[in-house]
Symmetry: C2
Subunit: 261 residues, 2 copies
């Protein structure tokens, strides 16, 4: 390759754009050496410690959407955590994400996120006392405790949602409200104190952008939304279960079930 790809030009769109930016906003030509705006600099220079719990059968987008978004917070660390260190398999069985730390090694987090899973994985997590004990312990000191999709059923099993409003995967809302003392609210994400639960799968992205703004302010939230180019254009407009006909819901759940081991 004969192109001279440099860090600046690859992601700044070329010399012309960089020059234009510098002319319009003095000082931005050296933007990469300037300090971040004051609201993004954290006392002590360290950012939020974010921990994402993985368990067998999780749905891959649940933890990774939030991981990508929240990792852009100044000074943030994102750690995948599971009962044991090592690869954890997703619901489809053909993808594995590495848990860098075990629950025994993690005593404190600023943010805890519990992803969802298919039936098998969710039920197993809901019954796993070691995980539930750890969640309760960590929750005592988090700034934010969050979930995506059926991860809220795991939070509920740990007793964290008692008497609260919360959401979950669209097909699990009735289960949440009938089996726990929880008010199911069919919104994209629901905040109850320091707990934020999100709807299914892709809702983790919306929720984590909201969470990013709670942690570091709206300006950073807006910038991260742009950084991950979150300008969604769903091809079909069928992502809202409250508007879906029963046949489509059946097919959706069937495709899911048949993709999961």
């Amino acid at each position: 390759m004969t192109n001279r790809a440099t860090r600046r030009t690859l992601l700044r769109g070329g010399v012309a754009t960089a020059a234009l930016t510098a002319a319009a906003f003095p000082g931005t030509a050296h933007a990469h050496t300037e300090a971040l705006p004051i609201e993004t600099r954290r006392p002590g220079g360290t950012g939020p410690k974010i921990g994402i719990l993985l368990f067998d059968g999780f749905s891959v987008l649940d933890p990774t959407g939030p991981a990508d978004v929240l990792s852009r917070l100044p000074g943030a660390t994102v750690t995948m955590i599971a009962e044991q260190r090592g690869p954890v398999r997703t619901d489809t069985g053909d993808v594995r994400l590495v848990a860098e730390q075990s629950i025994a090694e993690v005593d404190r987090l600023d943010v805890l996120l519990v992803p969802g899973a298919g039936n098998r994985g969710t039920i197993a997590a809901m019954r796993n006392q070691a995980l539930l004990d750890w969640i309760r312990r960590i929750h005592r000191h988090t700034r934010w405790t969050t979930s995506v999709c059926t991860g809220s059923l795991v939070l509920a099993s740990a007793g964290l949602l008692t008497g609260r409003r919360a959401t979950t995967y669209w097909a699990s809302g009735e289960y949440l409200s009938t089996h726990f003392d929880v008010t199911y609210v069919p919104e994209r994400y629901v905040r109850s104190g320091k707990i934020i639960t999100a709807a299914g799968v892709s809702a983790g992205i919306d929720m984590s952008l909201y969470l990013a703004s709670l942690i570091a302010g709206d300006t950073v939230g807006k910038a991260i939304e742009l950084a991950v180019e979150y300008d969604p254009r769903p091809p079909f407009g069928t992502g809202d279960a409250t508007k879906a006909d029963p046949a489509l819901k059946e097919l959706a759940l069937r495709l899911l079930a048949e993709s999961q081991i």
Copy 2:
């Protein structure tokens, strides 16, 4: 836990919903044993073989959004592939996804997806002849060759985009058009023959839903969009770079750069 969580009730919202569905649509009470609608059953019973290339420094949402979506296609397999088997580290350095197969082990794919990365990872991939050779070889027989974010720069480096229309991460569009014989089109995703390139990061989800419909029809595409509950509600509406002011773009790129090793 005293709740009797069963596969059906957990994801079908309880007995009431299941009964209602059965009454309205005869036969759906046993939906899980029925054959899929004819347009979703593939000849031979096997679905698309989807391969996602991973390389050091990739952005985690680029491959995982598509992996979650495309894995719901009937009979699909999703395989993470890299130069060598084993964990591959993301741009932030704190997350690893496992490559289940090496490029030497994969001769043929129905769908190839190349994710993007930060500067360092993208440039390294663009110069990696082993990866480029493999991409060219696989591309000869794919039904679809796709990319997310700066992954299109890697496709361009392999020569696949010559004379074509394509997109990429918003901050790399000018680079794409000035360094390659490619027409940069700032859309969410762009199809050129059997090649589909997507814009940054989260655009991989939109693109893969579109791709799912090309592979298995609109009904399946709609159902998968519902299955992953893709009803996005970006908190800020700042994901479109064409509408962003220069200061926000600078901050976005700075947050990205500072999150990447």
